[in-house]
């Protein structure tokens, strides 16, 4: 039993080592000099406009991106953009995952408590929009109805401040596009959103109409974690002042509100085949990320799961209890919660940011690993007790008996479940879109935010998943036939 404990603890130490190793390797790139990580949002026109590959590298990336480009050039720093939901930029800023955030952010008193704002470069107001055929024109007509807002935005704050007065319910979304579609489809009576953003969307085919004047006009600015980075704040402020004084700021704003960039760069061929062709690179890179996450995640989950399984069948009470508790916790926790906990929760505790990919892999390893652990444990336990007795009575030590006699038989029993788990892992990678991992699902979200082709794009994305899973199933059937 002491024997056991020692070996078990060694295995635990190995897992911990692997995890830490992944974290450290993954985080090295974060320390380069004078490169800031700026968190921003998926297409939020006219502030942020992604090109067809889902990046902001194009010619018309939106007001804030173009502004940041000019400031960086003028002030001499580099930046990496991290794309996530607006709400996630706020938490990431607080957790220290990013140095600054932007996304048409209104300056509010509430936010000032946690954020140092740059000088404002735009004034923004909340408007109400309703479906084109709706008869609603006033807030007083919203009684008992639902209003869609984006969580964490000034619109949401405004909606909450008046919802009692007008008697409506509030529903939250993470991206404008999904929210607008919800209203267009009649699931909500109205939406509150930033005026310029809504105008831009309507100009580009969103079937909503704005029925109120701008309420609550507030300045828009970038944010930096309060008191944490005076240097970056100074650079940004200096840059904004320079842009305003030289008239460049107005030029940028005009370009997106009046000029030729006011219409989004949309595909010409809107057939499914045309959409696949024009988004080929983005889809392939999303698929690549999904496959990479699946392979690395499943491999680590297998390792973690085998260790959990071996611990689980040990005679030592301590080891098997540890295994049971770990399996219980990670199987019991929704994967999305685990992903948020690791990516957004952990950094503020360990004082060190966790790179996105690492966070994704860790999530998969722990969550899928718990399921694998239960499978492995069950597989080993399903091997006849007599096999243990025969092996041990020949004088084979425990681990030798496990590896030579029990494992080969147990693995055969567990292969179908493990293959199933691999397929689930592939599908579960889509959950990581919630923390902004640019895998296939997130790629879809980004493309749709730009081209508004929700139905066709999700059909394409769904089809890609089905094809990959079919191939995987064929492969696994082949392997199982070979093993039988």
């Amino acid at each position: 039993m002491k024997h056991w404990l020692k070996r078990g603890l060694t295995s635990l130490a190995v897992v911990a080592g692997v995890v830490l190793g992944v974290m450290v390797i993954g985080s090295e790139s974060a320390h380069a000099e004078k490169t800031y990580t700026i968190g921003t949002v998926d297409t939020f026109e006219p502030f942020e406009i992604q090109d067809k590959n889902g990046t902001y590298n194009g010619k018309n990336p939106g007001i804030e991106i173009e502004m940041l480009r000019e400031i960086a050039k003028h002030e001499g720093f580099k930046y990496n953009l991290k794309i996530m939901s607006f709400n996630a930029t706020l938490t990431a800023l607080e957790a220290g995952q990013i140095d600054a955030n932007m996304g048409g952010m209104s300056v509010t008193d509430e936010r000032k408590a946690k954020i140092d704002f740059t000088k404002s470069y735009y004034t923004d107001g909340v408007v109400m929009a309703v479906p084109e055929k709706s008869k609603i024109t006033k807030l007083s007509q919203l009684k008992g109805k639902t209003v869609d807002v984006k969580s964490g935005t000034a619109s949401a704050i405004y909606a909450n401040s008046v919802k009692k007065k007008y008697g409506f319910k509030v529903k939250y979304f993470n991206t404008s596009n999904t929210m607008w579609n919800d209203v267009m489809n009649g699931n909500a009576a109205a939406t509150f959103d930033d005026g310029p953003v809504l105008q831009y969307g309507i100009r580009n085919g969103i079937k909503l109409k704005i029925v109120t004047k701008e309420i609550n006009s507030t300045p828009v600015a970038m944010g930096i974690k309060k008191g944490q980075n005076q240097e970056l704040l100074n650079k940004l402020n200096d840059g904004i002042t320079w842009l305003k004084e030289t008239g460049r700021m107005q030029k940028i704003i005009d370009k997106y509100t009046k000029g030729d960039a006011a219409k989004s760069q949309t595909e010409t061929d809107r057939s499914i085949w045309g959409l696949i062709k024009s988004n080929r690179d983005a889809l392939l890179s999303g698929l690549g990320e999904t496959l990479l996450l699946t392979v690395v995640g499943a491999a680590l989950a297998l390792l973690f799961g085998v260790i959990l399984g071996v611990m689980g069948i040990s005679n030592g009470k301590i080891l098997s209890s540890i295994s049971s508790v770990i399996i219980y916790i990670f199987r019991g926790m929704p994967m999305i919660v685990l992903a948020f906990f690791i990516y957004i929760g952990m950094p503020s505790v360990i004082g060190h940011k966790i790179p996105l990919f690492t966070a994704g892999i860790l999530t998969l390893m722990l969550d899928e690993g718990a399921y694998v652990g239960a499978t492995v444990k069950g597989g080993f336990q399903a091997v006849d007790r007599g096999q243990w007795e025969a092996a041990r009575s020949l004088g084979l030590p425990y681990y030798r008996a496990l590896v030579k006699v029990i494992m080969p038989q147990g693995i055969k029993i567990m292969v179908p479940s493990l293959v199933n788990q691999l397929i689930i892992t592939l599908k579960d990678t889509s959950i990581l879109s919630a923390i902004g991992v640019m895998e296939l699902t997130q790629t879809g979200t980004v493309i749709i935010a730009r081209n508004m082709e929700g139905f066709k794009m999700w059909l394409i994305i769904g089809g890609i998943y089905i094809i990959i899973i079919t191939l995987l199933t064929w492969l696994s059937n082949y392997v199982q036939r070979k093993m039988a």
Partner: protein, 247 residues
């Protein structure tokens, strides 16, 4: 501990929960002796046998095999087990290996032999049990009697000093029993120290040096086969033999 005994058990107790299965068993076995243990199901004879190589942990009492204290947790049990062959009721052959690999696994893994030596030994023992031609088949294709003979060959390949048999013929079809008993009889003739839990009264009568009658967790009676089978003293022994011999 007395060195002249191969196996020396003193006041062995074993309980499962509130159920005391062994109520103080003492037994000494001489080298080359063949001891058969008989008795009704649940009398504790299999549990006793399994205590001899610590497949079951005794609650109290001492168990010496080959001079090693089996009951002592500090004893390296893996080392002692190498010298104690065990044959199970349900054979417990490894289905993920061929017959030969079943036999060579332990000698090779425990570095008792090179692969070549182990292969040679495997064939020798397979020949002894009459199954040389089955060396490369999968054990799942064998009949029960063949499986049990392979299991005996597997145990012998470790060159043990003592062989334990736990109802080796109970799971066999009647026509298979003879082959297995024959192999065991040969083994006894070669001077192997054997402790056999069995329901085969004929075998016990013919091969055993000593027959031990277990009843309700104690040794009720022991003696030569003649003493036990022809002149049983204890009423429990008489009633048990009455039942099994006149069934």
């Amino acid at each position: 501990m007395d060195k002249k005994y191969k196996v020396q058990v003193t006041d062995l107790h074993k309980s499962y929960g509130n159920n005391e299965v062994l109520k103080g068993i003492s037994l000494n076995v001489l080298p080359n002796e063949v001891v058969c243990m008989i008795g009704p199901s649940g009398s504790g004879k299999s549990t006793f046998l399994r205590c001899l190589n610590r497949l079951e942990e005794p609650d109290s009492g001492s168990v010496y095999v080959d001079g090693y204290d089996i009951a002592d947790k500090r004893t390296n049990i893996d080392l002692v087990r190498q010298n104690i062959g065990m044959v199970f009721q349900h054979f417990n052959l490894f289905p993920n290996m061929t017959v030969k690999q079943n036999i060579t696994l332990a000698p090779i893994q425990l570095k008792k032999m090179t692969k070549e030596e182990a292969d040679e030994a495997a064939l020798k023992y397979l020949e002894m049990v009459g199954l040389k031609d089955k060396a490369d088949v999968n054990p799942t294709t064998l009949s029960g009697g063949q499986k049990q003979r392979v299991a005996i060959a597997r145990a012998l390949a470790m060159n043990p000093d003592v062989m334990l048999f736990d109802e080796p013929t109970s799971a066999l079809d009647p026509e298979m029993v003879g082959d297995v008993l024959e192999v065991m009889q040969d083994l006894a003739k070669q001077g192997m120290t054997m402790i056999v839990v069995t329901h085969e009264m004929g075998f016990a009568k013919q091969v055993a040096d000593r027959v031990i009658f277990f009843h309700d967790g104690v040794i009720r009676e022991q003696g030569t086969p003649e003493e036990i089978f022809d002149h049983p003293q204890h009423p429990d022994t008489k009633s048990f033999l009455d039942k099994v011999l006149n069934a």
